[in-house]
Amino acid sequence: MNPVGRIGLIVTVTAVAIHFTGVAYAQADFEGIWNPQHPPRMGQPDPASVRLTPEGQAEYESYGPDKDPTLRCLMPGIPLGLVDPYPLEIVQQDHQILLLYEHFHQVRRIFMDGREAPDHWLPSIGGYSTGHWEGETLVVRTTLMSPDNYTWTNGFPYSGDEDAYVIERYRRDGDELTFTGEVHDPRYYEEPYVVNGRWNFAPDGEIWEYECIPEFGGIQ
């Protein structure tokens, strides 16, 4: 085989291998512990700017402290747990990215190997997350989230409908990790609910245990 043919064969074999393994090789290094440095209001939008549908408005107005899962020591899940005032550890593997939150020990698996949610996957508080790289930006799509959840702890609702989903975009600039999350929930929102987050790289950071005692939810 001549040199040109040999190079062509190598390229072809490599492309086929990547296609069949489905591994999306990391385009940026997010690995490590990140300390929260979120914008005001924990990165949530000004409540007055959120455009709820009439059904969403009714749900919002029916909210009470007894419905806040975190005050009952239940994991916030998604979308409620997209940002929180605690450190986050990120572990990057070829087939998945792990988001290990100190808050409630929440663990998220972002599958990067091209798989989709299996048919048997039931709606859950954290949903099912898949991701891909757009240049150096990690794009995560989460579906199958439980209707027993909220978008924010002030009562902004989340329907859990089949057509509802969340898109997250993470990007690293030096020692800063920024994030934008879009909650797409047409039953309750006229337009996507957008939240922003920011973390600082903390090579000496620590993830602490988060034991939670419901009697100290402190809502009365």
Binding site: P85, E211, C212, F216, G218
Partner: protein, 126 residues
């Protein structure tokens, strides 16, 4: 009981459960109990109200993890401690309950409970 103006720093769900547009202050209180746990710490204290009756209040603190990272540890209060003044935002429920923002100890130390400058300032070091 004294109400004073307050410029709040948004923090998690505080405004949902507490009226952070205002603050109240309790003077000459005595600590009954203190638990620094997640999701929120809790201080129970008593003081004499304007009618001379002893009343018991509860105060919410940040989570144990966030408080400890700011130097507000589990030994911040002990039963029987005298507190010169406690400041916080009242619960929207109307209960004897507030979100604690600041404490002045009898020895002059000040504990800032919430906000980016949370921590203990020792008397004479400010």
């Amino acid at each position: 009981m004294l109400f004073i103006g307050f410029s709040a720093t948004a923090h998690h769900n505080g405004a949902t459960y507490f009226d952070i547009s205002t603050e109240l202050e309790h003077s000459d209180a005595t600590v009954v109990s203190y638990d620094l746990v997640n999701p929120h710490g809790r201080l129970v204290y008593v003081f004499m109200d304007d009618e001379g009756n002893e009343v018991e209040w509860r105060a919410e603190l940040p989570s144990a993890n966030n408080a400890r990272r700011r130097g507000l540890g589990g030994d911040l209060f002990r039963p029987g401690d005298r507190l010169t003044a406690l400041t916080g935002s009242p619960s929207r429920s109307g209960a004897n309950f507030m979100r604690l923002t600041r404490v002045l100890f009898a020895n002059g130390d000040v504990a800032q409970i919430t906000g980016r400058n949370a921590g203990v300032v020792r008397a004479g070091t400010e």
